[in-house]
């Protein structure tokens, strides 16, 4: 779901048909079919490597850009406990970005290259983070809905065929569960609070519901590349499958909160035993994906600022390390003499 852009942009390398595979490729496919993990330095088709680099780095970018909408409220959190919890959550997100950049680096791309792709606008990240956090309730809505959707997507990836990615996801999933709970707890406190607080919570739900639904990417009919990703066990469920699961789980939670989902067409279908939603506005999705969402510019500008302003710091650390290494060498040489 952080990889929604993969399915939309038709720039995927065309995978080599199995019939043309060399012995190595055939062995690779057999390992995938047997649910074996592929590890760094193992032989892999170039298309598999490139797909993974794109998916993992996109996921990593999403985590670190995702620090910004919630980070926006750290200084204004309304209690010390909420402040501490929010700091811990945003710190976790930075950590998740790091685990994922680490995993991507095992495939032969550097952190600097990935950052350059993000900051220049060539790499994508989850469009959900291009929406602004306008009230404290948005922090709750993000934890409840956005992290909820993320968990839904992440759990299957724990069984992904590429070892480092799967292991990073296991670590991330363990940490993610408090994120959703803290969000829901915020919503609950607001929903059970004053009139103004209840209205704040409802307003946040009104603005975050549809973007969360769209996090699962285009519908399966419009997703050209799901098939290959699923064959290689990078993707384990389709967009629509995950989206439906999310809806079925979340609607009762909203009902518990006493809040109204902003969808007049939402109904329970007795025959299929699922909630059915109204039409999704894919125009908004595509606009945000293209870079014309409410905060696309600001998010990238913030990351560019931080990275650019930090260049002298990174250089200083490297320079100091070089000086220390030179001193140690000189001292060693003197001892030998």
């Amino acid at each position: 779901m952080y990889t929604q852009a993969l399915d939309v942009h038709g720039r995927e390398p065309v995978p080599a048909p199995a019939a043309d595979a060399t012995a190595a490729a055939a062995r690779f496919e057999a390992r995938i079919d047997a649910d074996e993990k592929i590890e760094p330095k193992d032989w892999m088709p170039d298309a598999y490597r490139q797909t993974l680099i794109r998916q993992i780095s996109q996921h990593a970018h999403s985590e670190i850009v995702g620090m910004l909408p919630e980070g926006n409220w750290i200084t204004r959190a309304p209690s010390l406990r909420r402040k501490a919890v929010l700091m811990a959550k945003v710190q976790d997100e930075g950590g998740h970005g790091m685990y994922l950049y680490s995993a991507a680096e095992t495939l032969g791309i550097s952190r600097a290259e990935m950052f350059e792709q993000l900051l220049s606008g060539t790499a994508k990240y989850s469009s959900i983070f291009n929406y602004p956090t306008l009230t404290w309730a948005d922090v709750g809505a993000i934890g409840w809905l956005v992290d909820g959707a993320a968990i839904m997507n992440q759990i299957p990836i724990c069984r992904c065929s590429y070892g480092p990615y799967a292991r990073a996801m296991v670590r991330i999933c363990k940490e993610e569960s408090f994120h959703q709970r803290q969000g829901f707890e915020i919503m609950l406190t607001l929903a059970q609070g004053s009139e103004a607080q209840r209205a704040m919570a409802q307003d946040a739900l009104n603005r975050w519901w549809w973007p969360s639904i769209m996090m699962f990417g285009p519908s399966d009919a419009d997703s050209k590349h799901t098939a290959q990703s699923m064959r290689w066990k990078i993707k384990r469920f389709t967009n629509d499958e995950l989206r439906q699961k999310f809806i079925d789980i979340t609607v009762p939670q909203a009902q518990f909160l006493g809040l109204t989902i902003p969808d007049p067409a939402l109904r329970w279908d007795e025959a299929t035993q699922h909630f059915v939603i109204g039409p999704i506005d894919w125009n908004e999705f595509h606009a945000v994906l293209k870079g014309n969402g409410p905060c696309n510019r600001e998010r990238l500008e913030a990351r560019r600022e931080a990275y650019g302003a930090g260049a002298w710091v990174r250089e200083a650390a490297a320079a100091h390390a070089a000086k220390q290494a030179a001193r140690e060498q000189a001292a060693h040489a003197r001892r030998q003499a």
Partner: protein
């Protein structure tokens, strides 16, 4: 057992008030510094530093919560940690002036952090043997955190001071501009003296000497110049602040002030 470590009912009013203010000084310093560090999260020079600064901020907010809760008990008027954090105005805050200074660039933040870390090491080490058992316990825990903070901040001081020409210039600039606020750190006033007399807080003179030596050593390793001592009598620990604190509190307290009396 000295009067000051007795329960509020048996402490005399003046001693109780002095203890309340003393604990607030520690609490507010951690709170304000933690708030400043929170501003960095998502904007640090490297992703690893985002996590490092967030770690510092979390520890400091944690210290603030423990100390504010204790202060509220000492006061005995039914306030809690949030009432103290979100509903006092600037003149009632007793943090060190140094803590409220703006982040500036990374060098500024590192120097501010390093100075307060070196100060907190002395204070918490001294408090670990306090006759006030509650303070002693809080200090023992905080000391472990502070040792790690000091490792981080002094490490960066040296990297920046002894890094590139640009980083040294920035680091020296930060030291020069923040040095006047160190005057407050070990200048004992009547509250410090009361607390020391009661065996609650350490004697500041001895702590000042150790601080001075540690700081001189770090500056030397960082190839930075120690500025001349400047008097600076406007002490945050007496509620006399710079203009920065008002803005910091305005942002921090906004929601509680706008929606009074509700649960968050």
């Amino acid at each position: 057992m000295s009067a000051a470590s007795a329960t509020p009912a048996r402490r005399d009013r003046a001693q109780n008030d002095a203890l309340f203010r003393y604990v607030l000084r520690l609490a507010d310093t951690s709170l304000v510094l933690g708030q400043r560090l929170g501003e960095w999260i998502g904007h640090a020079p490297a992703l690893e530093e985002d996590l490092g600064l967030a770690n510092l901020a979390l520890d400091l907010i944690g210290q603030a919560r423990l100390l504010l809760s204790y202060a509220a008990e000492i006061e005995g008027k039914g306030r809690d940690e949030d009432a103290l954090a979100f509903l006092r105005d600037a003149p009632e805050f007793l943090n060190l002036t140094l803590a409220e200074q703006p982040n500036g660039d990374f060098a500024h933040t590192v120097v501010r952090q390093w100075l307060i870390d070196a100060w907190q090491i002395e204070v918490y080490e001294g408090l670990a043997g306090s006759s006030d058992t509650r303070l002693a316990a809080i200090a023992a825990k905080a000391l472990k955190e502070t040792r790690y903070h000091y490792r981080f901040s002094s490490g960066w001081l040296v990297r920046l001071g002894d890094g590139t020409a640009e980083s040294r210039a920035r680091a020296q600039q930060a030291v020069d501009s923040l040095w006047r606020f160190t005057a407050e750190l070990f200048t004992a006033d009547e509250i410090d003296e009361r607390m020391a007399a009661a065996g609650i807080a350490p004697q500041l003179a001895a702590a000042a000497e150790r601080f001075g030596r540690r700081v001189a050593e770090d500056l030397s390793q960082a190839t930075l110049v120690r500025p001349a001592q400047q008097p600076y009598p406007w002490h945050g620990k007496r509620g006399v602040h710079t203009e920065h604190l008002g803005h910091l509190l305005g942002e921090m307290q906004h929601l509680q002030r706008t929606y009074p009396g509700v649960r968050w």
